[in-house]
Amino acid sequence: MQLIIENFPLLLTGLWHTLQLAIVTLLGSTVISVAFGLMGVARSGVLRATSMAYVEFFRDIPLIVNVLFVYFGAPLIGISLDPFGAATISFSLWGGANGAEIVRSGFNSVPLHQERSAVALGLKPWEVMWYVLAPQALLPIIPPFTGLFSLLIQATSLASMVGAMEFFRTSQIIVERTTMMTGYSPAFLVYGFVLLVYFVICASLSALTKRLETSLSERQSRRGGRKAAIPQAANESI
């Protein structure tokens, strides 16, 4: 405990950097998810194919490879990125690919007839999207998206691989420094503390979204649930 208090300023800096990483990553991932998710349900085949290619490409690369690739690859095309930039960009690309898939399947879960009814009523495409489809897609999107956020926050520790002074890296430094100075390793204690902090962050995030989800689904059940409006006819035509 003494050790953690002594190194508190350093840990705090690390934690602050981790939070910055996380916030930028979550924002970036969300923007990319929505953009590519909507492209994935677009009418245009080109947009759908683009979205699919993006999703497949980034989901299939291990995140750590992705981080290293962006960090060491960017200078080759004339862009120099600091560790923070490289980490947030690669996390966002990866998070965006996974999130796009979640957004896409959320929208796909809304029955086709909802879109048809809205179009037949005369709503413009963006009105159909925003007022009719999006509210219905939200509920199935939230739980997996929370999971993704949680993964991304944990993944920020990978930024240490390219030298970002984030929370995990600072604690690593403390362990190494203490081991050198005193000859015994406080690894168990320090990493235990780190684990606790990540746990608290992720747990409060999921508690928060749990509440959002509950209030949304309570509203839904007040409306009588998500069941099909009328029993599905066996012979419904396309």
């Binding site: 909802q114 048809r116 809205a118 009523l121 709503l123 219905q136 009588g224 069941k227 009328i230």
Partner: protein, 258 residues
């Protein structure tokens, strides 16, 4: 809306409000609508029937531009559907549509379902839209459900709300695509009654339905479709008592059995 077109069959002497001339529609290689010509006059009630897969839904969806036809002319009250969005918006505003199911938006109250169109698309003031909505809910006898959500209503009630929602846009034609075929038998009647009452107001109606009682009672004309073509067209009494084609005979035998 030329004078010569008004001599088309059906309720004679009036203007055709929906006019199809040699309309063709393909899904990829599949020829779903094969050169259909059809005139529907102002105030006329046409029932379309035919075996599953004969292209009834596709035809109905072409009429309000939910599906694009590739060949032929399709005109709704003077607006030709030419694939441009101006004509699409125009036509969708003139045409009300009720589907088999999933009509209502589940996240909006009944009242909101009825006012979205008038307020967003027609730009009506909120209060006025609400008044209109309540009036139509009264017409379909479901006024007391205005503040409920669709899932709290029975299937029959939902379809009546869907009819009211379409009416709120003051359409010139109403299209129905098997509005009762997903309903429990006891609810079919209430929806058909609403449609019969609507016919009584002089609304032009094109209904895809297999409810032959309804067809007998309100239809001016029955159109029998088979394999993407109009196989037969006749007044109900003639169609039911003496169908000309073998396909129509077989079809009638099959649906009148149950």
């Amino acid at each position: 809306m030329t004078a010569s077109a008004a001599t088309a069959e059906g309720a004679g002497g009036r203007d055709p409000i929906v006019s199809l001339s040699r309309v063709n529609k393909w899904f990829g290689d599949f020829h779903a609508i094969k050169g259909i010509s059809l005139q529907v006059n102002q105030g006329e009630r046409v029932v379309i029937c035919g075996p599953s897969g004969s292209g009834k839904s596709t035809l109905i969806r072409c009429i309000n531009g939910l599906e694009r036809h590739q060949e032929g002319d399709l005109t709704v009250n003077g607006t030709r559907l030419d694939g441009k969005s101006a004509s699409l918006n125009e036509v969708r505003r003139k045409v009300g549509m009720v589907f088999q199911h999933f009509n209502l938006f589940p996240h909006m109250t009944v009242l909101k379902n009825l006012t979205v169109g008038p307020t967003w698309i027609l730009g009506r003031p909120r209060e006025e839209a609400k008044e209109t909505a309540l009036a139509y809910l009264r017409q379909v006898r479901i006024e007391d459900q205005a503040y409920k959500y669709p899932a709290q209503l029975s299937g029959g009630q939902q379809q009546r709300v869907a009819i009211a929602r379409a009416l709120c846009m003051k359409p010139e034609v109403m299209l129905f695509d098997e509005p009762t075929s997903a309903l429990d038998p006891e609810m079919v009647k209430e929806v058909l009654n609403t449609m019969i009452e609507l016919a009584g107001t002089g609304m032009t109606m094109i209904c895809v339905t297999h409810e032959m009682g309804f067809a007998r009672e309100v239809a001016d004309r029955v159109v029998f479709m088979d394999e993407g073509k109009i196989a037969e067209e006749a007044v109900p009494s003639e169609f039911f008592s003496a169908p000309k084609s073998g396909r129509a005979k077989a079809f009638l035998d099959q649906i009148l059995v149950h």
